[in-house]
Amino acid sequence: MPPRKELCRNFQRGSCQYGDRCKFLHVTPQQSQPSPFGFGTQTGTQFQRTNPQQQKSNPFGFGVQNNAQLSGANDFGSKPNQFKPFENKWSRFSPLNTSSSSTSRQSDSQNPAPNHKCTDPESCKRLMIEDFENERPQWKLTCYGHNKNGPCDIVGDISYEELRASAYDEAKRGLSLQSIIDRERSLLNSKLVEFQSLVQNPHVVSSNATLSTQSSFTGVSPNAPMTIQSGGPPSVSSFGQLGASLNTSGTFGAASSYTFGQSHPFQNNSQASSTFQRNNSPALSSYQNPFPTSTISMPSAAYNQSEVLMNGVNSALDMTKSIQLT
């Protein structure tokens, strides 16, 4: 007798073309369903992972407690029409048509607006606040520039692959999983603090810090970067925080080249680029003292990514080669 009560693999993966006619069992996992990534917390439901290990917050360093999760099981529990995919209700003004780029979104080019100019710290701040409330990406170790085509306000981003490579390398050297997690988490906290500080004291990083040269293509000249001091203490600058802790840390060797797979963590040069600090680094713990220990929690406003056009992070693009618009 064929196993009729066996779980249907396709259904568990997200969809089964046979539907009710399927001879395998279509059942949703016991726990409440995570909704597809990026569909946010509109209803305020607390989403949980289907992985029984993570009943509460994710211990693996990325504190995504209140975020809509994604781990392979589709959202069969909630109403399918509760939110429409790819309907971006929040519209950021697209640049003027004379510029060389346009973001690929729905309802685009409906509301052209002049490009942002950094003449007024308050308008910069408003723009940043709006960005952080509406479009904070899930990946937190990112750089950020409030000015399109302009330099970053927050530098020192780390890519998924770098984080992963570092974790693999540390595991190979015998570090425990917990210490790897702790380091990732402290990296995350540092970056979150940078973002918080930026909004409180919008301080546009001068171009000297981030670029060796900046030339502009004719017709598209990015606004000359200006440094706007809003009177905050220098340590608040997005550039300074990682750099300060780096400078005081004695654990980085003199080698300026990138050493990977060796005993040194990521090496920083003059910029506060990706930094993996040693566990129990004295510089790190002293750096964190002035800040409240609750920095681990996410800003609650960050997860209103209810309708993002491209659902999540695009890590791969490919062009259709033979089917083209002629």
Binding site: N10, C16, N58, L70, P95, N149, S159, A165, L317, K321
Partner: protein, 313 residues
């Protein structure tokens, strides 16, 4: 697996045992080259669903590309750039960077291998010589930041780095970039790909957006220059977009986990999808890494007629 292809496409047997960093179809056949964090590069015949070869490296392999149907190149986290000869199962080291090599491409226009690394440089190599860095290295080009992605079309090379920098080079004159730009997106760049028609490139970021850029501003206003393209996200969905209408054309059924890589076959009939957790949430348990090869129907990727603006606006 002999069942009919499921909604996700046929799953390739013998996938890598750890995350997939990239996969590419050959320009000459349905051969698929797959690089992985398990330190291997595997060659599959995607139509036959058969593993044809496997090459082990000294560290995670972060990128791979074909040269012709019988050889390819790889970018490895152990700082090496390697050349693979499939039929003989041979591989040798073409050269090294000072940090993990993140991207590798082969330029048919110049016959050179181009690599980008987290050591903030781009290097060009001549693959015809004997192995060894002294012979094969043509040039080293410093970038403003660690290289995250690069793409070629014709004589143009686009490099995307950390810190949202983008450099555009003419391969015939690498002494300095043709253009230096910042990304028009506000967050970290993930991926850059040139349009096959050579007029520009698409750039994606961690915020989930894609920006369409042109090399030459005079082309920007024309509506017929966008093509259709596919994107894969950490939500497990593959979407196909119409660049002209700026709308989604199609969405494939959800894959088990993050889409790490996509590749269309040379004739656009097949789409290979790497469903492989990309670590965007740090270290956590995840679905097994898998490769799906699905047929592409014209209706899924053919752009719809251009939507004209309303007379009233």
């Amino acid at each position: 697996m002999t069942a009919a292809p499921q909604s996700t496409g046929r799953e390739l047997t013998g996938p890598p045992t750890d995350g997939i960093s990239n996969l590419r179809f050959s320009n000459h056949s349905d051969n698929l080259l797959v690089s992985s964090w398990d330190k291997s590069v595997r060659l599959y015949d995607a139509s036959a669903n058969a593993l044809r070869g496997e090459f082990m490296h000294g560290g995670a392999v972060l990128d791979c590309c074909f040269h012709d149907d019988s050889s390819g190149f790889t970018a490895c986290a152990d700082h090496t750039v390697r050349r693979l000869v499939f039929n003989y199962g041979r591989e040798d080291i073409l050269g090294r960077h000072d940090a993990p090599v993140r991207c590798v491409e082969y330029s048919y226009a110049t016959g050179q291998v181009i690599t980008g690394s987290w050591d903030k440089t781009l290097k060009c190599w001549d693959p015809r010589g004997a192995s060894g860095q002294e012979r094969s290295l043509i040039g080293t080009y410093t970038q403003p930041e660690r290289v995250y992605s690069l793409s070629l079309v014709g004589n143009r090379l686009v490099v995307a780095t950390a810190g949202r920098h983008v450099n555009v080079y003419d391969l015939r004159n690498m002494s300095q970039p043709e253009q230096r730009r910042e990304s028009s997106l506000k967050y970290q760049t993930r991926c850059v790909r040139c349009y096959p028609n050579g007029t520009g490139y698409a750039l994606s970021s961690v915020e989930g957006r894609v920006a369409m850029e042109f090399f030459d501003l005079s082309e920007a206003g024309q509506s017929k220059n966008y093509g259709t393209f596919a994107t894969g996200g950490c939500d497990g969905y593959v979407n196909v977009w119409d660049g002209n209408n700026k709308k989604r054309l199609y969405q494939y059924p959800k894959y088990p986990t993050s889409i790490a890589a996509l590749s269309f076959s040379r004739d656009g009939r097949l789409l290979a999808v790497a469903s492989s957790y990309t670590y965007e949430e740090g270290d956590k348990p995840h679905e097994p890494d898998a490769i799906f090869v699905r047929s592409v129907n014209e209706v899924e990727v053919k752009p719809k007629p251009k939507v004209l603006p309303n007379p009233g606006t």
